[in-house]
């Protein structure tokens, strides 16, 4: 059975994954994180990524009036790499967010999204 640590290991096994993190969206807390590169701080990144997701949802709520916004995943591509955020609806509070940073050259976005979907289904019934 997949727990939070196991989930993180699975996410890191996605081809091209550089680092990954599970974030509690309510508090912006890093629940579990892979080893981050020097200079990066998992705790601060978690809080900042939470704000990114919140701003995205706010923006979409304004841009699509009449819809309740339900984000499947968010993909941000920079000149250095891809960043994927996937919020998971949990039994309570949350959402729990999977974050993964992917190598620009080696990663396959379609495969990574597919793997994240499969991992989320395994993590939460």
């Amino acid at each position: 059975m997949l727990g939070l640590d196991g989930c993180l290991t699975e996410v890191m096994a996605i081809p091209g994954a550089l680092d990954a993190m599970l974030v509690d969206h309510t508090s912006g807390m890093a629940v579990a994180a892979s080893a981050f590169p020097p200079g990066a701080d998992a705790e601060k990144s978690a809080a900042a990524l939470t704000e990114t997701l919140r701003a995205t949802v706010d923006g979409l709520a304004r841009a699509c009036p009449g819809d309740t916004v339900r984000v499947e995943d968010v993909l941000i591509t920079t000149d250095k790499g891809h960043h994927l955020l996937r919020p998971l609806d949990t039994l309570f509070d949350g959402p729990l967010v999977i974050y993964v940073r992917l190598d620009l050259e080696r990663a396959n976005i379609a495969l990574a999204r597919h793997r994240l979907r499969a991992i989320s289904a395994e993590l939460l019934a």
Binding site: M1, D24, T26, S27, L91, F92
Partner: protein, 259 residues
């Protein structure tokens, strides 16, 4: 009274297993010196959080607790390991937020006691203290006045503008607020963590969607009333008012002449 985390240092060093009871405020469960679970009388426990979405009832959870315990809960599958860990994490941090700073009676340690949902995720005291401090700072950055955390949630009946966006928790708070329930009452009622509701309420306050707290507003208004004193007796309020009227009349006359 020393803060609670100093009482935790002993059992943690000795790798004890058991429950540290903090009077009526709550209980901290340790397994070989590591924190496995924390419960606080003021915040909803993991059972309440698990039951909130209706997939498993609190009665069914109590039955599972009595017969089969956590193993059976996970085996029979209403809850996955990931969900249980995440839920315990939410409940423990919520309890720690109120329990760790509380200075109560000297806690009693009962060796051997375990919480039935604990032991699937471990916490260290330093990490809990750090995260609670971060949460407090975040609450203050959203809305500086902590009074809204404990006051009854009273939502403004009208918007000041034309539209507003609410998060899911804010929506639940607005629907459930009955002018009397405090954020922690609402948290238990909604099966949300206390922190999630307090944060949602502070955001509502920051957006101007809460009615001003009566307890705070009344004395402030009273202070603005002129105090009867020797100055007022020497110069009553009425003549001053007449001067103002005279000034206004002169102004109107001057404006009419200009036109």
């Amino acid at each position: 009274m020393p803060p609670l985390d100093t009482h935790l240092a002993g059992p943690a060093r000795e790798r004890s297993t058991g429950a540290l009871r903090v009077g009526r405020a709550g209980t901290i469960y340790l397994d070989a010196g590591r924190i496995t679970y924390m419960e606080c009388a003021r915040t909803p426990g993991a059972e309440r959080l698990l039951a909130s979405r209706g997939r498993v009832s609190e009665a069914a959870l109590r039955r599972t607790q009595a017969d089969g315990g956590c193993e059976r809960l996970l085996r029979e599958g209403p809850v996955t390991l990931g969900e249980l860990q995440y839920c315990v994490l939410g409940a423990v941090l919520d309890a720690a937020f109120f329990l760790l700073p509380a200075a109560g009676p000297r806690p009693k340690f009962r060796p051997g006691e375990r919480h039935w949902l604990g032991g699937r995720w471990y916490f260290d005291v330093a990490g809990l203290v750090r995260e609670c401090a971060r949460r407090r700072a975040h609450l203050a950055s959203v809305w500086p006045d902590a009074a809204v955390d404990t006051a009854p949630v009273r939502v403004s009946p009208r918007l000041r503008g034309q539209g507003v966006t609410l998060t899911d928790v804010q929506w639940e708070v607005v629907v459930a607020a009955d002018q009397e329930a405090t954020p922690l009452d609402l948290a238990r009622r909604l099966g949300r963590t206390g922190y999630a509701v307090m944060l949602a309420v502070r955001r509502l306050a920051a957006a101007g969607l809460l009615l001003p707290d009566e307890r705070a507003a009344l004395p402030r208004r009273a202070k603005r009333l002129p105090k009867p004193g020797p100055q007022d007796a020497a110069e009553p309020a009425e003549p001053r008012q007449q001067v103002d009227v005279a000034l206004l009349l002169r102004l109107r006359k001057a404006l009419e002449e200009l036109a």
